[in-house]
């Protein structure tokens, strides 16, 4: 009897989990699936949604209602070939995203691991106050931090250049916080041993600390990457030159125009993130877990 009851609850839990799983996966799966639809099929399936705003119309058949499509009737690569070979604009915007985000990720991780080493190895009253300042800064929303960033960009004449976004990005305190949490857990014995072997601080940092933090570094790089890959606030304010704006901003502008292309571009835009996720999910989970140990 008890066993039967237990089985029922398990099935129930599974159904709830499955429901959530479908809800969580649907937008991503639909976007990828729909990127393989031809323009005609898109018209037939989603025409009602986009007809008012775009040049989809024409004489083609329009559906009376919307059908969400998980598997296109006919798989077509036409959208992709247009994106890749005929309209260089999208690839250019993709490249814009890359050259904004990659330097931020690399240098933020480098600068942050140096700072985190200092915060975790040496303590003192001054350090604690400083660390607190970093936390406060980390918690500030863009509405607050963009104003100082803008002022600096203006004083230095960097406004409307990529540096206006890249430089503040490099010094964002988020990864300092996370890496410090992580480095504080490295055993002191290990560091003492390295010291006895005659390592100086720099050698301890490079040879002991960094190898110990490899998974944390990887997960931080992922978190920083996705955050900046998504950026919207900074480019609209700091980069008024549309030709330099990243794809994250530009995608919303093609949404109303060429819908079929937009699905394909959207899919291309997720690929780097999805690859990272599939490859490094364990690191990511570990990194998130450490970020939660706020008092640790």
């Amino acid at each position: 009897m008890i066993r039967k009851k237990r089985l029922i609850t398990r099935v129930l839990f599974f159904i709830i989990a499955a429901f959530f799983a479908i809800a969580f996966l649907m937008p991503t799966v639909l976007t990828i699936a729909d990127s393989f639809m031809s323009q005609t099929e898109l018209n037939a399936k989603y025409g009602m949604v986009f007809s008012g705003t775009s040049g989809l119309g024409g004489t083609s058949y329009m559906a009376k209602k919307v059908n969400l499509v998980f598997i296109p009737d006919k798989v077509s690569f036409s959208q992709y070939s247009t994106v890749l070979f005929k309209s260089p604009d999208y690839l250019l915007k993709f490249w814009n995203s890359v050259i904004l985000v990659v330097p931020i990720v690399i240098f933020q991780v480098v600068v942050a691991s140096l700072a985190a080493y200092s915060f975790s190895r040496f303590r003192g009253r001054l350090k604690e106050i400083l660390f607190f300042v970093y936390i406060i800064l980390m918690l500030m929303p863009y509405q607050v931090t963009l104003v100082p960033n803008y002022l600096v960009a203006e004083w230095t004449g960097l406004i409307d250049t990529r540096w206006a976004i890249i430089l503040p990005g490099i010094f964002a305190p988020f990864s300092v916080f996370l890496l410090t949490k992580f480095m504080r857990r490295i055993s002191g014995a290990l560091i003492e041993a390295a010291k006895l072997d005659g390592c100086n601080e720099w050698q301890i940092f490079i040879k002991v600390c960094i190898p110990q933090c490899r998974s944390a570094l990887y997960s931080i790089a992922m978190l920083v990457f996705i955050d900046y890959w998504n950026m919207v606030e900074q480019p609209i304010i700091l980069l008024s030159d549309v030709s330099k704006q990243p794809l994250s901003v530009f995608l919303s502008k093609i949404n109303t125009g060429e819908v079929g292309l937009a699905f394909a571009v959207a899919t291309i835009y997720m690929i780097p993130c999805l690859l990272m996720f599939l490859h490094g999910e364990e690191y990511l989970v570990e990194g998130i877990t450490y970020s939660g140990a706020i008092k640790g």
């Binding site: 799983a21 976007t31 140096l114 500030m140 863009y142 300092v176 993130c273 996720f277 998130i288």
Partner: protein
């Protein structure tokens, strides 16, 4: 005496090395955040960057009585007040769900976490297909005889679309934090409760929830910060001029940036920074009160 001198030299040497490690990050943070923020505070109290007349609270009064600012603050607050509790409660539920014995648990974790790594810009298109006036959600609701709702343009429902998107994106991260906290929970306490015949509801509310309280605090702060970032989603979904209910603080800032009204910008930034710090301080105080009797 000699030893003392050695200790001092060692301390000075330590200070120099630690400062060296910290320097790149600290200098950057000073240049891009702290120093300009000082200037922002200064700007918030003068009449214009040309005259430098000290007006103290005048600018704050102007911002706080500005109707656009009030509207934006009200909307942002409404959004945070609905989205943050939902994000906390639902992610505790998801984490508890994955604590049960259900098949394919690790897949479910992957599924729930995946939205976090999908760029928002990539999925807004499908969001539009779903929530458009002629979209899939209305189509679905029609089965139950519910009238069509123009989700993104209505003043009552537009926020719920964004709340859904926010939850979709953030629940996975929060869930991981709760899963880690649940894993670290001391088992003996729960065993004692079992022996004494405590029901599972009692165990959940009286024991688990209390142990989770530091994590609940952290997730609340995190969700709060993320709720201030929801401008991204709104901007991508409905552009610069959204429905009245979706006009967020960042929209206000964008418009102020466009007119380059330094006084308004600075005082708005200062007001928001103060409010953020107050909210976080209050949350910390609450957690200190509530979490204490557990540790004792």
């Amino acid at each position: 005496m000699k030893k003392n001198k050695n200790g001092r030299a060692q301390r000075i040497r330590d200070f120099i090395t630690s400062a060296g490690f910290l320097a790149p990050s600290f200098i950057g943070v000073c240049i891009f955040f702290i120093v300009p923020f000082g200037v922002v505070i200064y700007y918030s109290m003068i009449d214009s960057p040309l005259h430098h007349n000290f007006v103290f609270l005048e600018n704050f009064k102007n911002v706080l009585t500005n109707s656009a600012f009030k509207q934006a603050a009200k909307n942002t607050l409404t959004f945070s007040v609905t989205a943050v509790p939902l994000a906390v409660v639902l992610s505790i539920l998801l984490a508890s769900l994955l604590e049960q014995k259900i098949p394919g648990k690790s897949y479910f974790r992957t599924f729930f976490l995946s939205p976090m790594m999908v760029p928002v810009a990539s999925i807004v298109l499908i969001w539009q297909v779903m929530f458009h006036y002629n979209g899939a959600v209305n189509e679905f609701l029609r089965i139950f005889g519910i009238e069509k709702i123009d989700w993104l343009k209505s003043n009552t429902f537009s926020q719920s679309v964004v709340v859904t998107l926010f939850l979709w994106k953030n629940l996975g991260y929060n869930m991981i934090l709760f899963m880690a906290a649940l894993n670290n929970m001391p088992n003996d306490l729960l065993e004692v409760a079992d022996i004494e015949g405590a029901g599972s509801l009692y165990k959940f509310f009286k024991i688990k929830l209390r142990y989770l309280s530091p994590t609940i605090l952290f997730v609340t702060i995190l969700s709060l910060i993320n709720s201030f970032k929801v401008f991204r989603e709104v901007y991508l979904l409905s552009g610069d001029y959204p429905a009245g209910d979706l006009y967020m603080l960042q929209h206000f800032m964008n418009n102020t940036f466009r007119s380059l009204d330094y006084q308004k910008l600075s005082s708005a930034a200062v007001v928001m920074a103060i409010v953020m710090i107050m909210i976080i301080a209050i949350l910390f105080i609450i957690e200190n009160r509530y979490g204490k009797d557990v540790e004792g």
